[in-house]
Amino acid sequence: MKTFSRGIRVKHNKKKTEEKNLQEAIIPNHVIIPLQQSLGCPCDPIVKVGDEVKEGQKIGDSSKFVFAPVHASISGKVTKIEWQPNACGFDAASITIESSELRAESRENTEHRTQSTEHGSQNLENLTPDDIRKIVKEAGIVGLGGATFPTHVKLSPPKDKKIDTVIVNGCECEPFITIDHRLMLERTEDMIFGAQAVAKAVGASKIIIGVEKNKLNAIEKLKAVISNWKTCPELVEGLEISILDTKYPQGGEKMLIKAILEREVPSGGLPMDVGVIVNNVGTCIAITEAIKLGKPLISRAVTVTGSGIREPKNLYVRIGTTFKDVIDQCGGLTDDAAKIIMGGPMTGLPVSSLDVPVVKGTSCILVLNKKDAKAFSEGDCIRCGRCIKVCPTGLMPNFIADYIKLKDWERVEEYNVKDCIECGCCSYVCPSRIYLVQYFKLGKRELQTRKAVCK
């Protein structure tokens, strides 16, 4: 079985939602759209308070390269452009849109997603790589696995970097989350089309879809679709499925490349340094929608689950919908709900209020009840070495944490804290419950500011 070294086996907890179809969520009457939803520069608003906007209209743009524009996810009136609470824990400049229409039910079914319109192009032949990049950029597409790196930037590797392989990341190694699993089952063709668009944009000849072996039905579906297409060789040329061991963090970019291609992204480098581009399943589908339907990224798939949710679901949610509106459609919170997490249980962020919006990086709304949300108090390191045994990057987390506590920044750097991918394996196994990843985030930040000061 293909995999990477170290890592952890963790309970999947996907049972509650893995069999449930993705549904269109109710379109909310007001949305809060933060101007920065990518791992890039924030956008400037291009609408004013009081403006009427249409669904899909661009409302935030920037002249920078590393950014992704934001769009109105519902039609309505701009009522506020100000700092508002955000899932990241601090306030973010956001645009609020309110609509007067009353919508009790979901307006559309999910079928519209694959229907074509006159805006789009049904095949890739007429499109140049630059066209694809432009469409992706205008649609505001970012990495939907959670990292939210602007996709058009990823699709623009420097000339000297030859990309030979596109990897579609269908691992979904985080427990609880099931959207990529569902998307692979329900939107197989769209996903492959998107991956082919990516391959065309970067000039890669090979597409490999990496799926963990706990999603056997998705693997079967992929195989079936590919064998159906055997008659048109141009569709399946260079297309491969790679079945991977179920291990966390298999979906980490570097681990995935290592597992599938036996290539190691150099320390401090990017996948393109080894000729690879990795895109998440959801990102590929967003690219397909942008190309075929001319639809910008105004909604995304979200798993709503956990012991604190009455009716766990997989939903297509409009960007900017508040957590409250989403959770209300899932039977609401249980009485003992204690912790709201945006993302998975390993790397997700805790959220203090239900008034924060779903953003492009929200793959999951996970609510834990009191029992599951039990806080841990940190003890002293007993040097058991488990953190070292599980670190997929080959770091020594216990020593780095010690040096961060001692503020010995030279040592912190020498022990390669910058290579930490913040997967959380070390904290997960630590018998003394030390918040290792948190220390590393702190350490990385400190090193960065110190570097900036030195310059």
Partner: protein, 307 residues
């Protein structure tokens, strides 16, 4: 509504420091049981007494130094049990009490408590007792009797007949309380292996090195890995988290070093046995091993290679 806020990961593995310590204590009950079987009720009293003094010393020290009392974490119990198992049967209780106090207060507490001690507390205490009361610490009772007799390693050193393999394996021979029965030690450590609490590098490297070197030096390798405290030391002391290296590579080097030292002391030194000192000496080297035996950084080799 107020929600819990803490950073990820929001789920944790089951094992915590406390459960690990109690599993080790549980595993030590097997060699303790054989000790009681072979050396009688006095061994039971010695084991309970030593452990009790260890716990009392911990409470005393943490109270005096105004630290939180951490007895429930089980580390004092483990230290007390381990120390009892490396004492000779029939040792006066007051000497055992001093040893137990030394282990907890001097060897562990003064260094900062659990996680910060340099030496294995039980081994440090034993070394201290051997230096202070050499006669009492080398009076070995024969199993099922009140007569003293030499240990197999001493017999081997002076060239006399040694017990057979089966007696060595089962524990029917003179020696420290818990070191005599190889079988009990294997059962106890087997549980710890199964629970993934200890790992193979240190014990395998340790026992393997002694076996190979004994063979190369023309001694009986099977006798030398079963006699003395090697098994107990390799499985329960060379795997101590706090005082041994943290990486797989480091732990292997640690075991290798222990093996070489043990053989040197046994064959060329003045003592018949060398497990205690060899592990203590390697404890000193642990920080150095940790510094150099690091895991390979992901992507480190390809840093300069162009693909």
């Amino acid at each position: 509504m107020n929600f819990e806020i803490s950073t990820g990961p929001h789920i944790r593995a089951k094992d915590d420091a406390k459960s690990i310590m109690w599993w080790v204590a549980f595993a030590l009950l097997f060699p303790s049981a054989t000790a009681v079987y072979f050396f009688g009720i006095s061994a039971l009293i010695l084991i309970i007494f030593t452990t009790l003094i260890a716990v009392i010393s911990e409470v005393f020290f943490q109270f005096v130094s105004k630290r939180p009392i951490t007895v429930p974490d089980g580390s004092a119990v483990v230290t007390g049990l381990l120390l009892a198992l490396i004492l000779p049967s029939g040792l006066p209780l007051w000497i055992a009490a001093i040893g137990s106090f030394f282990a907890i207060v001097i060897a562990k507490g003064l260094f900062g408590g659990l996680g910060f001690n340099i030496f294995n507390p039980a081994l440090a205490a034993r070394a201290f007792l051997v230096a202070s009361w050499p006669v009492a610490m080398t009076m070995w009772l024969k199993p099922f009797s009140a007569i003293t007799g030499p240990t197999p390693l001493y017999l081997s050193k002076i060239g006399e007949a040694v017990p057979g393999y089966l007696d060595l394996f089962l524990g029917n021979r003179g020696g420290c309380l818990g070191e005599t029965s190889v079988l009990a030690i294997l059962i106890g450590s087997g549980i710890l292996f199964y629970k993934k609490i200890i790992d193979w590098p240190a014990p395998v490297a340790y026992i393997g090195t002694v076996f190979i070197l004994s063979f190369l030096l023309g001694k009986d390798p099977v006798f030398h890995i079963m006699a003395g405290g090697l098994m107990l030391g390799a499985f329960f002391m060379a795997t101590d988290y706090v005082t041994t290296p943290v990486t797989t590579k480091g732990r292997f080097i640690f075991g290798l070093g222990c093996g070489i030292m043990t053989v040197l002391i046994r064959f060329y030194g003045g003592f018949p046995e060398g497990v205690n000192y060899s592990i203590l000496l390697m404890n000193i080297l642990t920080p150095v091993i940790d510094k150099y035996a690091r895991p390979r950084l992901f992507g480190a080799l390809t840093r300069s290679r162009v693909i």
